[in-house]
Structure formats: C-alpha cells, structure tokens
C-alpha cells in the first residue's frame, strides 16, 4: 500500500517504508551500536547472531529472516525514538538489542508496552529482568550482578579478608560491585572501601594511590573497553599488580588484552564465557566464526549467537508467529539452550541461569580455570511476572 507518492528523499524518514514485505519473511530489528565507544561490541553481536541464523539456513521458526539495522549510538535519549521506528515504522517482528543499559531499558519499556518480542544480547542492567521484566523480553547474556557475585565467593575462598572495590559511578558498575560485596561478605570478607570514578572519566591515578595507602588484600573492579585497558595499564604501572591482586568482572580482560600490551597477563576474572571451554558446541562455533569473519569470537559474539538461538527455540514452537509471546515464553523457559558457553536455561525473569567461570588471562585469551559458581541465578529483584 503506497500511501504517498511524494518523491522527496526525506519521505523515507517521514513516512517510513510502507510497501508490503513478502508475507513469509520474519523481520528482525538489530538495534545495536554502530558508532561510538561500543561499535565493536555491536559488530560482534551482529556477527554472532547472523552466524546462528545462517547455520539454520537463514530461517527462524520456518520463516526467512530479513534484517533491519539501526545504529543506537549508545544514546539513551534517542533510544525511544529508535525502537519506535523499528517497531512502528519498519514493523519488525522481533527486536534484538543492545549493549548500553540505558538504551536497553528504554527499549524494554517500549517492547513491554507493545508486546514486541525482544532479546537483549548484552546489557546487564537489573532493570531489564527486574522491574521491567515481561513475558516477551529475554536476555541472552547475563546480569551485572552475576559475575560479581561469583567473584565474591572466589575472593573469600582465596582467604582475602579486606577488599577495595573500584568502578565507574554508573548502573553496571554499582550492580557488579553490589553482587561482589553480597557474596564476599556472606563468606566472611569485608569490603573496606568502595571507590567510584565519574563515568566515563579514565584518570585513575589518585585512586590507585589511595588503594596503595589502604593496602587491601585484593581489589575488585568493573571496567570495560577503553577504561579497562587504561585501568589495567595504570594499575600495573603503579606497581600494584605484584603486591595487591586485581580481580574483575570478565570485561576487564575481554577484547582488551591486546591493547593492554601484556599488562593484563595473569589477571583473574569471572564471566559466563571463557576461552578453551571443553565442549563441542564451542569448538564448532569458534571454527565457524573464524571462517566467516576471519577473527576470533568473543563473549559478545556468543551472546549474539545465543540471542538467535533463544529466538529460534521460541519461534519454532509457534511456527514463526512472533505475536504469540506466551507460547514463546513457555517454550523458551522449558528449553535447555546449547550455548558455546555451556548449556544454560532461562529463569522465570528470563535471565540465563548459567555457570560463571573463573578465568586467567594468558596471552590474548582468557582460558578457564574452574567454575566459580554453577547454575547461578540472578535474584531478579522487583520482577512481578
């Protein structure tokens, strides 16, 4: 139905695409960062997602998949408009996104209202599987709380008594540190100081001096991307690496080891994925990813891959009818997802119940040492579903 014959180029923006799509194609909206700090992460998620879809012959729930891509710029103030565009103008059946927690929360708000099927392939904000949880919203990644909680136990088991935490003053950092503190103190340790750096400031020197003066048994940290690189380099340069062990949520050493130039060697981190996992799914996944994109997959690629897998399971149960969210939820909740990270299930709040691995940075990889917390579920505070 061509509603308008205006030939203005801006008409696309104004009126969207109104021509009918082939009846059987399933439109998947990929709302991921293509510019800015998280652009690389968005790319990995997209690769992982497409890899799985290709493995399934380009189909989800028996329907051909058609992608609609949108750069979310990691800007929450544009998020509502962007998700609205995907749902209302591009008329996607499913949305996948995103990395930034604030953007993901805005997306979840709209998806909850419109009932659009949505999978979050990264953002670990407690909002999404907490107060904003909904039958049609799933997360294929983790909650910020999970790696922190797992590491708290590890730190206590290592006999550390006093720990200092340091992170950016923002949601993800606070939730991760909160998880760490919870389990560390349950197991007899004490967080003696919680330090925060204004986000996204990367000047750490003053707080490193403070850490040196406090002399804790260990430091727990949550940083990602450029901040993670700089923090590890500064920590090493300040001479603290040898005297005060540094522990972190996995993002500290994921995709950042090369840039850290060897300074991250030997760091212990916890995450729901690791290199050298001994399972068949992972091996196949890695080979296939390497062949398709000529690079090594990372945790973000896995999350993208599993996002597609969750959709595949859900949509298979309803023959590709993405509007039947209740049935989809039931199918996904009862399924076991065969992820490269190991098999996991989804909780009632639709967050993965998964093993969190303890890893040690070696070269440019993070091989697994042990399972830090098996089948760890997120508390999902505030979820009424």
């Amino acid at each position: 139905m061509k509603r308008l014959t205006l030939s203005l180029v801006t008409a696309t923006a104004l009126f969207g695409t109104t021509q009918l799509m082939a009846e059987d194609a399933l439109k998947v909206g990929l709302m991921l960062p293509a510019s800015g700090t998280y652009a690389q992460l968005g790319n990995a998620i997209e690769n992982g997602f497409k890899l799985y879809i290709e493995k399934e012959g380009g189909k989800l729930g028996g329907r051909d998949v058609e992608y609609v891509k949108l750069d979310d710029e990691s800007d929450p103030s544009k998020a509502t408009d962007n998700i609205n565009k995907l749902i209302k103008s591009d008329k996607v059946d499913v949305v996948v996104g995103t990395v930034h927690s604030g953007v993901a929360a805005a997306m979840a708000k709209v998806a909850k209202k419109t009932g659009t099927l949505m999978v979050v392939p990264n953002a670990g904000s407690k909002l999404i599987t907490g107060p904003m949880c909904a039958p049609n919203i799933f997360r294929s990644s983790f909650s910020n709380w999970q790696p922190g909680y797992a590491m708290g136990k590890v730190a206590a088991d290592k006999g550390y008594k006093k720990v200092v935490t340091i992170t950016w003053k923002y949601g993800a950092g606070e939730e991760s540190v909160g998880g760490f503190k919870e389990s560390f103190e349950e197991n007899g340790g004490e967080v003696v100081k919680e330090m925060f750096v204004p986000f996204p400031n990367v000047e750490f020197q003053a707080l490193l001096t403070e850490i040196a003066a406090t002399k804790p048994d260990a430091v727990y940290t949550f940083f990602a991307g450029g901040g993670a690189v700089k923090f590890v380099k500064d920590y090493k340069a300040a001479g603290l690496m040898n005297s005060i062990p540094l522990l972190g949520a996995g993002f500290l050493t994921d995709g950042t080891l090369k840039a850290q130039g060897g300074d991250g060697e030997g760091l212990l981190t916890t995450l729901h994925y690791a290199d050298s996992l001994d399972n068949e799914t992972d091996k196949t996944f890695r080979t296939a990813y390497n062949e398709s994109f000529e690079m090594k997959p990372d945790v973000y690629a896995v999350q993208g891959y599993d996002a597609a897998q969750i959709l595949s399971i859900g949509l298979a149960a309803v023959d590709g009818d993405a509007t039947k969210t209740k049935e989809i939820a039931a199918a996904v909740e009862s399924a076991e997802i065969d992820s490269p990270r190991g098999k996991f299930t989804l909780s009632k709040a639709h967050n993965p119940i998964q093993d969190i691995y303890l890893r040690e940075a070696k070269g440019e990889g993070n091989p697994v040492i042990s399972v830090a917390a098996a089948k760890l579920d997120d508390p999902a505070k505030g979820c009424r579903m």
């Binding site: 800015g36 925060f196 400031n201 450029g226 690189v229």
Partner: protein
C-alpha cells in the same frame, strides 16, 4: 592521609594537570588569537593518538620517530584545514565557526572508523622509558609519566619564550588584542592565522601521541577531553597560555583530591570550581596577553 600519601597525590595532580595543559594549550591558542571556538580540538587529540598507533609500524616501531612524523603530518593537516574550512569564516558570526567545527567532529570520527576501525588499542611505552621508580612501600611511579610531565614543562617554557622573545610571538600577542592593528603593522594576518591554527592542531595531536602509551586509544576519546579542556581555557582566561598552565594545575589538584576526599561529588567538582572562579573573576584568572 599521611604525609607521604599526600605528597604522592600532589605528584599525581601535578602530572594530570600538566597533561591537561598540553591538550588545552592548542585550544587556547586558537581560541584566544583567532576567536574560533574549536569544538574539533578533541578530534585532533584523537587523531594524534591514533597516529601514534597507526604510524608506528610504518616507521619501524620507533616511538620518537613516530612522534616526529606525526607532528609533521599534524602541522600539514592543520594548515590545510585552516585553508579549506576556516579562511573564509572570519568575517562571519562566531557561531558559524562553531557549527563548522561541529561538522568536522562528525567527519573525523567517521573517517577514523573507516580507516582504523572501532577497536580499542594500546601503544607500548618505548623501552628506554619503561622503567619505574619506587614510591613508598607498595607504590611505584612509571618513568614514562615523569617523561610526559617533563615534556609538558619544556613545552610550557618553550611557549613562554616564543611568546615573549620572538617576533612571531609579538605578532601573535598583538593579533589577539587587535586584528586591525596587526594589519596596519604590515603583518599578513591570514598567514598568521594559518600558522596559529596549524600550531594548535599540531600541539593537540602531539598531546594525543605522547599520552597514547599511558592512556588507551578508543572511539570517542576526543570528545571526552574536549569539555575539560574548555574548562581549563576558560578558568585560565581565554588566550592566556600562562592562565591555561595554572588553570590546568588547579584542575589537576581539584580532580585528584576531589576523587579521594569527596568521592560522591567528584564528577561535579571541576564545574563547581569553574562556576565559582568565573563568578569571582568573570574573565578568568589571567586575562589574555
């Protein structure tokens, strides 16, 4: 906080302040002399940092050679940019220039993405400066950071000498006060502006290159330093190289001790400081000149 920790924190703030000064210096030059509010200054810093990463393999991995080549490229870039994008703007309203620099930010960031990609990179410290000095019982201080501070101090001194002792410096100072006067003295103001702009770009890029080994290189890094640089320039007094120097040190102090003593408010402290200073001295600490 005992004395030794206090002294180390003082060193930290000095070192951070000097680095800030290095980045802000080019901004205050362009700002004060040409009256151009250059939002793209952060992009030049970013370009410098990426040059430190991307040029190194081309010149055999020697850091100092990379610096030199990068500096030359930055001067050329600045010279061409002024010619292509700014030379026709001086008679227009200042805000037009702001719009122009805003457009340039977007373009630079995308060109960077197309050429180098969106990954995070690190640049290793040159071997000769890779050592560190023990401070207290657990802490050490990397030699490279001291090297950066020394370079900043040298540059500050150099700028001071250029400004007070050379004909170019005289022209620049005169130009910042009165454009017509410079022209009546028979100085080619167009050429002067081009030189100043090239110098501003080169200094920003140099700051990016030299801080690349201690910082990390990531998309959007330029925007992060931009605002703090403006704060430095404004607190110091627009166009005042000396003012920028003291303002940068002041911000280094406030930021460093703020993070330790008032962690809850550390994000906002610098801005409170700026507001207070400007309410007390509406033209910054040091007037231009």
């Amino acid at each position: 906080m005992d004395l030794s920790v206090f002294l180390i924190q003082l060193l930290n703030s000095l070192q951070y302040g000097l680095l800030l000064y290095l980045v802000a210096m080019g901004l205050t030059l362009i700002f004060g002399i040409m009256g151009v509010i250059n939002l793209a200054h952060g992009s030049f810093y970013m370009i410098g940092a990426y040059m430190a990463y991307a040029l190194a393999p081309l010149v055999g991995g020697n850091f100092f050679l990379t610096l030199l080549v990068g500096l030359v490229l930055a001067v050329i870039l600045g010279y061409l940019l002024e010619w292509a994008f700014f030379s026709f703007l001086y008679d227009r309203e200042h805000l037009q220039q702001v719009l122009m620099t805003y457009g340039l930010i977007l373009v630079f960031e995308e060109v960077r993405s197309l050429l180098v990609g969106d990954d995070v990179y690190g640049v290793s410290v040159p071997d000769i400066l890779s050592g560190s000095i023990a401070l207290g019982d657990v802490m050490t201080y990397p030699v490279y950071r001291l090297f950066v501070s020394a370079v900043c101090l040298l540059l500050a001194l150099g700028m001071y000498l250029v400004f007070t002792r050379t004909r170019l410096g005289m022209m620049i100072r005169a130009g910042s006060v009165n454009r017509e006067m410079v022209q009546s003295l028979g100085i080619d103001i167009k050429f002067l502006y081009r030189v100043v702009f090239a110098a501003g770009v080169a200094i920003a890029a140099f700051a990016g290159m030299i801080s690349a080994p201690v910082s990390s290189i990531y998309p959007g890094m330029g925007n992060q330093v931009l605002i703090i640089c403006f704060v430095v320039v404004v607190i110091g007094g627009i166009g005042s190289i000396r003012g920028a120097f003291f303002a940068a040190l002041l911000i280094g102090l406030v930021d460093t001790f703020g993070k330790v003593l008032l962690p809850e408010a550390s994000g906002v402290l610098v801005y409170v400081l700026m507001a207070l200073i400007l309410l007390w001295k509406p033209n910054g600490l040091f007037k231009a000149g």
